[in-house]
Each structure stands twice: as C-alpha cells, then as structure tokens.
Symmetry: C2
Subunit: 241 residues, 2 copies
Amino acid sequence: MLDCGIWLPLVKINFEVNLMRTLFHVPLCPFSRKVRLTLAEKKLDVNLEPELIWKKREEFLEVNPAGKVPVLIDLNQKILCDSNSICEYLDEAYPEPSLIGRDLFQRAETRRLIAWFDDKFNQEVTRTIVYEKTLKRFFEQTGPDSNALRAGKAAIEFHLDYISWLIDRRNWLAGDDLSLADLTAAAHLSCVDFLGHVPWDKFPDAKEWYSRLKCRPSFRSLLTDKMPGISVASHYSDLDF
Amino acid sequence: MLDCGIWLPLVKINFEVNLMRTLFHVPLCPFSRKVRLTLAEKKLDVNLEPELIWKKREEFLEVNPAGKVPVLIDLNQKILCDSNSICEYLDEAYPEPSLIGRDLFQRAETRRLIAWFDDKFNQEVTRTIVYEKTLKRFFEQTGPDSNALRAGKAAIEFHLDYISWLIDRRNWLAGDDLSLADLTAAAHLSCVDFLGHVPWDKFPDAKEWYSRLKCRPSFRSLLTDKMPGISVASHYSDLDF
C-alpha cells in the first residue's frame, strides 16, 4: 500500500493528471455531490472523473486505501480523501464564502446537521433507497430488497418533516446563511429525487427550500447527471417541479 | 420537537443541570469515548451521565432529536450534539493542545483518519463486534449474529495492519503529534479490547502505539468502565498487557 497521506510526498498516480483540479466521484454518490456543490459555491473549477469504485482499481486504492469517493486532487497536487475532510479543507483554503460559519456555535450547528444527513439520513434513507436501487447491483450483483425500500420511503417523511420544522424557524437549515448543512442535505435528497422517491407535495416548506437550492448555478451540473441503466425521474431536472 | 439548535435559546432540560460540564454517553460507545478522551487531553473536567439511548427518553430526544450520544452541555450551557461537531467545537473553543493540527494539510490528514475509523472501522469492526455483543440485546432483543462476529474478527486484522503501516512511518497516526486521529482510533479499539477481541500479539507496532495511549492520564476513566451483564477481558485495564 502506498502512502495516501496528504502532507507526505505526493503519490504518483498512473492515470491522467492534468493541471485542472480533479474530483474522482460517482454521479449518484451524495458525498461526491456534497463536494461538487461546495466547489461550485466557492466558484472553483473542477474536472470530474467518474470512478467505478466497485471495480477496486489498484491505482485508485493506492490513492485512497479506503476505496471510497470522493477524492480530490487540488491545484497544488495534494490528494484529499473523505468528503468531510475535503469540505473542511476547502472552507479553510478558500474561505469565501464561508460554508461552515464564522461563529463558534454556528459552526457547531452546521456540523451537527452535516452529521444528521451524512449519518442518520444516509443510513435510513439514502442507503435504503439509492444504494438498493443503483449501486447494489454493481457491489453485490443483486437487486433491491423490498423491505429496505419500504423502510426508506417511510423514513424520508420524518426527515422532510424535520427540514420543514427547521425552515419554519430559519432562512436556511443551520441559520441565516446558506451553509454546508444545506448542501449536504440537498446532496442526499437530490440522489433520492433522481429516482423520483421524494414526496415533495406533502412537504411544501421543504420543497420551497429545495427549490431555492435547485435554482442555484452550483446545482446545474448535478441536474445533467446520468447513470447507465438507471432511469431518471421526469421532474428531476425541472426547476419548476 | 423542541429546538436542539446550539445557537438558539437554550432548551430547558428537565434532568439535573449542574454547573459542571456534562456529557451524556454510553460507556462502550466509541463516539462518546472519543469525546471523553478529547476533554481529558484538554484537561477539561466533565460530569459523565450514562444515557440508555435504546429507551428513547423523551427529554433526551428533545435535546438531541437524532437520539444519539454523545451530547455535551458545556459550561456556557450550550448543547452540542454529534461527536465530530463536539470535537471540532472543543478544538476551536479550547485550542490547547491542538488535536486537529495547525497546518492546512495536517488538518486534512487528521480528519481523513478520523473518518477512516468513525466510518470504515466502525462499520467493519465496531458494529460487527461491539454492537453485536453488547448494545444489540437492548436495541433488538436478540443475541449476536455469528457471521457478523466472524467478519469483524477478520476485518480488524486489516485495520491493525494499516495502523502498523502508519506507525512505521510516523510518530502518531497522523504525523509527529498526538491528534484526534489517535483518539478516534483508540476509542474504537478500546471498545473491542474491552471484549478481548483485539489480536495485539500479531501486531506489535500497533500494540506499542496503543500502549503509549493507554498509559496517558486521559485514558484512565475508560479503563474503569463497566457494562452490566457484560464481562470485561482480564487484560483490559492492565497497562502492561
């Protein structure tokens, strides 16, 4: 195993390295989407490289032994792994606009909500719907488990209710300003929405919040994503859904 | 549901609030242990309150609707939820000693390794051994799944190998200095070690690194933990194991 350490001498990667910032990603991976949204909100150009992580390509495992996307190679040729580490790095390296917040408690609240969506929503909804209906066929060569899908479709209503409750009290999820909490929640929801499983009409406040995000230039690249063999919901790229 | 927002007016909690910093925790929860180690390394006193999360106590859910430990109430009476949010907050509010690092890339490497243990190790080892043998009986009223235990015991060797590889090249996991990467890894491993399932003798470099951590004053409170009905490995609290 080669060193994937970010601050140690750079690993030579055998695939194309160009002078652009490069993000290795999977189109329907919410963690990759969170980083794409963060880069776009900070107006940082990036070259997107799809990585078929289920193939466990040796050169990729040398870069990130965890075998996961996203992996970012920044302009300084440093390799960054894990969506949380990457987003914290981007907010420190490119501080405008701040996506975590400036005040100590605001930052803690943003991070609490990032964990809410990356842990709880991911486990209860993204994995049970998106993984089951898309990546599972590549990783496990089997189709979706109907019990998991049913559990995911029930759990998403609790989460949309929580988003509605927050948005009833705040302009954005973590407070007055757009933050990584919004981008994280939207990254997960956008994957479920790709498959048409978000019951927007039952949650008008959550829909209004998502609609504000969907109209932002940072969202554009997500709306043109495709996954071979997986059909996209008809309203997915519609800004007036 | 009350507001659990950290920067909004404080939720009144109905259980005892004293003037001490209070941490709601579960003794064999690695995420709680990570926060306990962080507090102790920063020499911050804390009152530990065990929380039986599987009972889904209403007052606790009002404080943290995610229903998870750890939850910290700091001296300023602010409520902080999620181990990552808490540890980042502690490193910002009480900067000495820095446990994430001072340099941009050092910080990214610390956070990459925190995610390695909190995500990958947790999913492959802690959940398959510690959850199966301890908390599962409370959450699911069933005993451990022998396939999960077998998978966990195989996976831990890969992780001990990775720790050995890092320690062969660095003083601590993320570099020259002790960091949250070490505390996170040790928090998870200490739970597995409580049950006696860490094959230390096969990995002398990892053992030497863990031994350095185990001798630190911050580790003491972990070594006296007990869980009703769960027997502790005989070497668990032995500094010369």
